[in-house]
């Protein structure tokens, strides 16, 4: 099986995990978890270096989920790696669960920082990148933002910091699905032209198809070659990707699948 086919199969299974845990939790963020899962799959199952038996390996690459509401996507990945169990997934958002509504770095090894309040992840990613450079480490730092999240002022403060300190070990990705909880990003408060904005802030910008592994992996490789500049990958995605009833609908930003929707989803994803 080619790597691309393998990644597709992994992402298909992760989508099933995401929907099952959200359905069980009866709350959580469906649309944004599905729109970014291919990006996480490309990173965790092809691009990033880490050790399954040592989550704290000092030379690992780091991933920061700045759009912390997509926690189910990250949890599904961490369970697949083995940093938490499949049983843990079914405790999402419940009392005493390691799987908080938004990622808690104290709860699970493999979660680098706590996120959830939008706009804060890129600053933390910058701090980690600076520390890795001080320590002369070769590790890379990946940070995933939402497009609605780019309405936060702190994102642009952090954008300036990364460019000023020439953080070429940093690669950020925007999950550009075009929707946020109140509707289309362009209607709520427009952020375009996004690639040009990041360019103007001193970043190397690459646009990619956020559901195409060739496109994503080629973008990550190109980012690694750039010196003295951080890279932003603007990844075009579809909110709710992979399940017809959720695709392109802002309504499913923060709504879990109903019993009926889960059945449809599992059928479409071949989970039954």
């Amino acid at each position: 099986m080619s790597e691309r086919v393998q990644l597709k199969e992994i992402a298909r299974n992760l989508r099933i995990d995401i929907l099952r845990m959200l359905h069980k939790a009866k709350s959580g963020h469906t649309g944004g978890s599905l729109s970014c899962i291919d990006i996480l799959t490309a990173l965790y199952f092809s691009k990033m270096r880490y050790k399954i038996d040592d989550p704290a390996w000092p030379d690992r690459d780091r991933f920061i989920l700045s759009k912390g509401h997509a926690a189910p996507a990250l949890y599904a990945v961490l369970a697949k790696i083995g940093y938490c169990s499949n049983e843990d997934l079914m405790t999402l958002r419940q009392i005493d669960s390691k799987l908080q509504g938004h990622p808690d770095c104290k709860a699970i090894a493999g979660i680098e920082v706590s996120t959830g309040s939008l706009g804060q992840g890129l600053s933390m990613a910058n701090g980690i990148s600076l520390a890795l450079k001080l320590d002369k480490k070769q590790s890379r730092v990946y940070c995933l933002l939402g497009d609605g999240e780019c309405q936060e002022g702190q994102v642009w403060e952090a954008a300036m910091t990364a460019a000023h300190y020439r953080l070429d070990n940093l690669c950020a990705i925007v999950d550009n699905n075009g929707l946020q909880i109140d509707g289309a990003v362009k209607d709520v408060k427009g952020i375009e032209p996004l690639p040009e904005k990041w360019k103007a802030f001193g970043w190397n910008v690459i646009t990619a198809d956020g559901h195409d592994f060739d496109s994503l992996l080629s973008a990550f490789d190109k980012a690694e070659e750039v010196k003295d500049q951080p890279t932003m990958i603007v990844a075009r995605t579809v909110k709710g990707k992979g399940v017809s009833v959720f695709e392109g609908k802002a309504k499913y930003h923060g709504v879990p699948p109903s019993d009926e929707e889960l059945t449809i989803a599992l059928k479409e994803l071949g989970g039954v």
């Binding site: 996120t115 910058n126 001080l134 002022g153 702190q154 403060e157 000023h164």
Partner: protein, 310 residues
């Protein structure tokens, strides 16, 4: 006389030589907060974040996660006000090892006026879970606090001041998080103070002494976790408490002491501080008089609580 911000800057630069994990961040105020002393010696470990306090707190959190010991400095109002939620989410909730050392706290900022005078910082830091809050009384205590900050793992807020203030502790003093110190024994009333108000509390005790009133003076430099035992003991033994702080009487040292007293050993008490007002521009010493942060006003409060004793 030494400004606690100067003691901070010098101590940080000295510790930077011993501990290479120390990194320092500032938001375009390094000359004022005195982190510039460190920056000059260790330019590779100093990060000027520009006028971007929120980003500074997040970046400090990232550096801490990756094993560094970040000290993040700016004026108290921006560190705790502008960046409050970043401090809560990125630093306190994950309990990362960031030291926020904020200068220019209180009204002694002086001429810059209310926009720059933080009278709320202790309150808004104290309410955050996992956050330790420290207000050193003088230059010597500031040095010892900063030394301890390098050893202690976890988020801390340290409040230092712009103006010069008397040195009241000596080299034999040893700082411990959560421990207050009795600076003057007394039996009729206890004055509990922090920061630059500690020296004024000692002066107030002198005034009261001349009137035959024996005042205990306690330095509570750790506002959180507060030294409950020392406060309860003072309440039991003197039955009258006055607090003194260069901060709003709402939410700061006075409130913290009142919480301890109300739940453990209620006695007559009065809070000396800024009475639910913003600051204003002017000479720092004059402002202290206008806002009632004087030894005379502390002594007056002491007489009042002594009268209220049963």
């Amino acid at each position: 006389m030494i400004a606690t911000r100067d003691a901070y800057g010098e101590t940080l630069a000295r510790l930077g030589e011993i501990n290479k994990d120390i990194v320092v961040l500032d938001a375009d105020l390094s000359g004022s907060t005195k982190t510039a002393v460190f920056a000059k010696k260790f330019p590779d470990r100093f990060f000027n974040m520009g006028v971007a306090e929120q980003d500074m707190m997040g970046t400090a959190a990232g550096l801490a996660v990756a094993g560094k010991i970040p000290f993040a400095s700016t004026f108290a109002i921006f560190a705790t006000g502008r960046a409050w939620e970043q401090v809560r989410q990125s630093i306190a909730y994950p309990k990362v090892n960031v030291k926020i050392v904020a200068s220019h706290a209180g009204i002694t900022v002086g001429e810059d006026g209310a926009s720059h005078q933080s009278v709320e910082d202790i309150a808004v830091m104290r309410v955050i879970p996992e956050m330790t809050v420290i207000v050193p009384a003088d230059g010597i205590e500031t040095r010892k606090v900063i030394e301890e900050m390098v050893r202690y793992k976890g988020p801390v807020y340290v409040r230092v001041s712009r103006g010069k203030s008397p040195v009241i502790l000596d080299e034999s003093y040893s700082f411990e998080i959560g421990k207050g110190t009795v600076l003057r024994e007394g039996t009729t009333v206890a004055i509990i103070a922090c920061g630059i108000m500690v020296s004024k509390a000692i002066e107030a005790a002198d005034i009261l002494g001349k009137e035959g009133l024996s005042a205990r003076v306690i330095n509570i430099s750790t506002i959180k976790p507060i030294d409950k035992d020392l406060i309860i003991k003072a309440a039991r033994e003197t039955c009258a408490i006055v607090t003194a702080e260069e901060h709003s009487i709402i939410g700061g040292l006075g409130s913290a002491v009142a919480e301890v007293l109300a739940e453990n050993h209620p006695v007559p008490m009065k809070r000396v501080g800024i009475e639910d007002k913003f600051g204003t521009s002017g000479d720092a010493d004059r402002l202290m008089e206008i806002y009632g942060l004087t030894p005379e006003n502390i002594a007056k409060a002491a007489r009042e609580v002594i009268k209220r004793k049963r």
